[in-house]
């Protein structure tokens, strides 16, 4: 549905997007992750026709955004970052303006606005001026405008930034609901969000792809380290450190002593659980807990993007 090809964009001397290549198939919910300034917004702005690429291009349903931006714009619904809606307009007037701009026929406009008010729960604020709305409502108005023409592709730039936890859950459930039938691309730097809503995650850093895959795949494959945590009773930190010295491949160890229990966390290149257990069995420590932790997306994210 969307093909990003050798996309590069410079702002003066600064390279925001550097030879980016990936494809988004129809019906996927894609999360674009990355630290601030990684090039997420720039990529989305080029896709939606707000910015021009320096070189390379994006094809939407086979149409080049550089050649026929109007046709591409028709297929895309876009919610820019922080939902910059005309502050002096009434919500209803604003939606009507968007409906007209999107070329919805006159007799269908009111019905469509009613439908959107239902989907985005905007009924109570229809008569209010945009500048008097809370951030959550503003975001929902923004979402309604993106959905207006029932587009095949929905592009959302940080749709949940600045919202409270309840509003975040609401927006996410709307995204998930819409995502059943549409292609959605949204950017975020909140990792739990990507985890909760996306089929696929692309992490970009310094304008290039750092990782690409489903959250499940990313968690098990990236970095090649496994995390083990164990809780011991009657054990001394130095004794354990001595035992651990016997193992090769341990990258990091952290200890956390509380009362007479000691929590040890290890990250190592290979799975050492079996060998470690037989070592522990030889001592008279009491093993309270022993588990392999799966790497969190946060961990992967930090590892991939820690150079800045």
């Amino acid at each position: 549905m969307v093909q990003i090809k050798e996309l590069t964009r410079y702002y003066g001397q600064t390279c925001a997007v550097d030879n980016l290549n990936f494809e988004i198939p129809k019906g996927q919910i894609l999360g674009l992750l990355g630290p601030n300034g990684a090039g997420k917004t720039t990529t989305l702005r080029i896709l939606t026709g707000y910015l021009q690429p320096t070189s390379g291009t994006i094809y939407v349903d086979g149409i080049d955004v550089k050649e026929d931006p109007l046709a591409v714009k028709k297929m895309i619904g876009y919610l820019p970052e922080s939902s910059p809606i005309y502050p002096d307009m009434i919500v209803f007037d604003y939606l009507l303006f968007i409906a007209e701009m999107r070329g919805i026929e006159k007799d269908r406009q009111i019905n469509r606005i009613k439908e959107l008010a239902e989907i985005c729960s905007l009924k109570e604020v229809m008569h209010k001026t945009v500048m008097n709305l809370s951030k959550g409502y503003k975001q929902r108005v923004g979402l309604a405008l993106a959905l207006m023409s029932d587009p095949d592709i929905l592009v959302l730039d940080e749709p949940t930034s600045g919202l409270d936890p309840n509003q975040i859950v609401e927006i996410r459930s709307i995204i998930k609901e819409i995502g059943k039938t549409k292609t959605i691309i949204f950017s975020t730097h909140i990792l739990s969000e990507a985890e909760a809503t996306c089929d696929r995650v692309v992490i970009i850093n310094n304008g290039a792809i750092a990782a690409d895959g489903s959250t499940e795949v990313l968690k098990t494959s990236e970095g090649g380290t496994s995390l083990v945590s164990l809780t011991l009773q009657n054990a001394d930190k130095d004794d354990i450190a001595a035992v651990l010295k016997g193992f090769t491949g341990i990258k990091e160890t952290s200890y956390n002593k509380s009362g007479d229990t000691l929590e040890v966390k290890l990250s190592c290149a290979e799975d050492i659980r079996a060998a470690l257990y037989s070592e522990i069995k030889k001592k008279d420590w009491i093993l309270l807990e022993f588990k392999q932790e799966r790497k969190s997306l946060e961990h992967i994210f930090r590892e991939l993007t820690k150079d800045n």
Partner: protein
């Protein structure tokens, strides 16, 4: 570029003018200033014509129209709403044309109440309608040119005050060079006179509608709007 999208943008912009107090303040100030200066000398001279009114108009337009047009693009850049507008299925030309027409129509509405002056004057004496009609036709072109300059200045910055200063300076310059020709080297006068909006306006306001003056105004409008288009392109 379609007439439909231009019309929608123009309608929204035009409505927005009237949802803020700024528009009413500009209209009031315009009418008070033109009315005051015109009638202050009208009764002293005791001539039933509007020559003084049309002599005054370019300089007042040079400040009032930039004040109308300054927010058209600047405000959108500042609030970021331009991102939504530009990613709707419209071209840059639609946006510029819509905003320009809104500004022009606003200027004409600002001017419209002054139409009672000639009606009033004709009751006092024998008014020659030729120069009056010419003056109003010239005023439409003048408003068109200054609106285009206002739209252009607004597209160069996200600060409305800066936009106002830029466009008011350009309009002021184009208005006063005709009066300052005596200070300038003689080989430039012909060219500078041709450049001056007030020169062409005064020609039309005499009641002589010459194609040269019309071409001047249309060229000025076209070039300024084209520059606006180029600036917008450069921005992306």
């Amino acid at each position: 570029m379609t007439a439909r999208s231009i019309a929608i943008i123009y309608k929204r912009e035009f409505k927005t003018f009237f949802t803020s107090p700024g528009a009413y303040i500009i209209i009031s100030l315009f009418l008070i200033i033109t009315g005051w200066f015109f009638f202050a000398s009208f009764f002293l001279e005791g001539r039933a014509d509007m020559r003084n009114f049309f002599a005054l108009l370019p300089i007042i337009f040079a400040f009032s129209i930039p004040a109308v047009a300054m927010r058209l693009f600047s405000e959108e850049f500042k609030s970021g709403s331009f991102e939504i507008l530009k990613t709707l299925p419209v071209t840059e030309l639609d946006i510029i044309a819509g905003k320009y027409l809104a500004s022009l129509l606003f200027a004409l509405i600002m001017l419209a109440p002054t139409l009672v002056y000639p009606v009033f004057i004709s009751t006092l004496g024998d008014l020659d309608w030729g120069p009056v009609v010419g003056g109003y036709i010239g005023a439409v072109f003048l408003a068109g040119a200054f609106s285009a300059i206002g739209v252009f200045a607004s597209s160069t910055t996200k600060n409305q005050v800066v936009a106002f200063i830029i466009s008011a300076s350009i309009c002021f310059f184009l208005t006063v060079i005709n009066q300052s020709l005596v200070f300038l080297p003689s080989f430039l006068t012909g060219f500078l006179q041709y450049l001056s909006t007030s020169y062409h306006f005064s020609n039309v306001a005499k009641g002589i509608i010459d194609s040269r003056d019309i071409i001047y105004f249309l060229t000025l409008i076209f070039l300024t709007l084209y520059a606006t288009y180029l600036i917008n392109k450069e921005r992306s």
